[in-house]
Subunit: 190 residues, 2 copies
Amino acid sequence: MELLKQKIRTAGVVLSDQVLKVDTFLNHQIDPLLMHQIGQEFARRFRDAGVTRILTLESSGIAPAVMAGLELGVPVVFARKHRSLILKDDLLTAQVYSFTKQVESTIAVAARYLSPSDRVLVIDDFLANGQAAKGLVSIIQQAGASVAGLGIVIEKSFQPGRAELEGMGLRIESLARIQSLEGGQVTFID
Amino acid sequence: MELLKQKIRTAGVVLSDQVLKVDTFLNHQIDPLLMHQIGQEFARRFRDAGVTRILTLESSGIAPAVMAGLELGVPVVFARKHRSLILKDDLLTAQVYSFTKQVESTIAVAARYLSPSDRVLVIDDFLANGQAAKGLVSIIQQAGASVAGLGIVIEKSFQPGRAELEGMGLRIESLARIQSLEGGQVTFID
C-alpha cells in the first residue's frame, strides 16, 4: 500500500535495526484518514474470505480493525491484555511474550464473542516475531472458529513471524513489508 | 442520540445500580457502524469548536475517537495506561483512579503530541466519577493547550463527573445520559 509506505518513510523513526517507531500515526497518535484507507485496503483483500468477525489486540490494533470492520460490515472484538473487574465471563486466553516490552502477558477474550461458525480475520498493527498473532489464532482455535487470515499493517519481514504463521497454513496480507531497518533506513519488499 | 439509546436498551446489561455493561458494542466487542455514527454525531456537535486534535484514553475510547477524528479531519492521540519501552519520550502524566477496577493508574501522553496552540476535544466511552476525564484535562492543561470540550458516549448522570467538570467551565456533550440503573432498568434523561 503505497500511501502507507510513504507515511512510514516520512514519519517513521528507525530506533535500531530491530525497532521502527510509528507513534505519529499508528501507536500513540493516530491518523484517522490513513486508518480509513487501511481499513478499505484490508476489506478489498479479504472481501471474498467469508469474514464474519474481526479479532484484534488492544490498543494499537483497534483503529485499523474498526475501520476494516466498518468496510466489511462485521463486528470487531479486541482481546484485552489486562483483566477488568467487569469482565468476569468465561474467558479464552493465551500467553503472549512481547520482545519490545520484554514482558509476558495474558491476552483474553470473552468466550461468547467467538462461536464455532465464525470465520475470523485477525488484524494487528505489527507482525514481527508473531507472538501476538499466534496468541490471537490460538484463541480463535479454542473457540472452534476458523481463521480467515491475518491482516497486518506493518510487517518486519526480517523477523520470523510470517514464516511461522505461513507454516501453520495461514494467509497473511501485510500492507507494508519491511525488508530491513539497517543503517537507519527503511527498505521495503516490493 | 436515539440509535445509541436503543442499542443500550437492547444490548446493555445492568449489573448493579452503578454498573452498566456494554461489552457487546463498545468495551470489548465493537460495533463499527454504530461507532461511525457516533463519530458523525460528535463531529456535528463540535464542528464549530475549533478542534485541532482529539485526546482519548486506551482502550475503549479509541474507536469513537478515531471515528470523530475522521469526520472532523484531525489527528487522535490516545493516552496510555501502561508504559512501553518504546515510549521513552518526555511524558505528560496524570493519576486516574478507576472505581470500577479499584486501582489507581498513571496515564501518559508524549509531550510532543500536544502544543500550546492546540484546541483539544476529549472523547471517552463513559463519564461517571469523571476521574479519567479530569486526568485527560490535566494533561491538556500541562501542555498549555485549551480544552474544546468533552464528548462522552455514555454518561452516568447519577454520578458526580459532569457536575465537577462543568464546575471547571468545561462543555460536555454526552450522547446518552443515564438517569438511573435502579431495578435493573436503564432510565435516560431526555
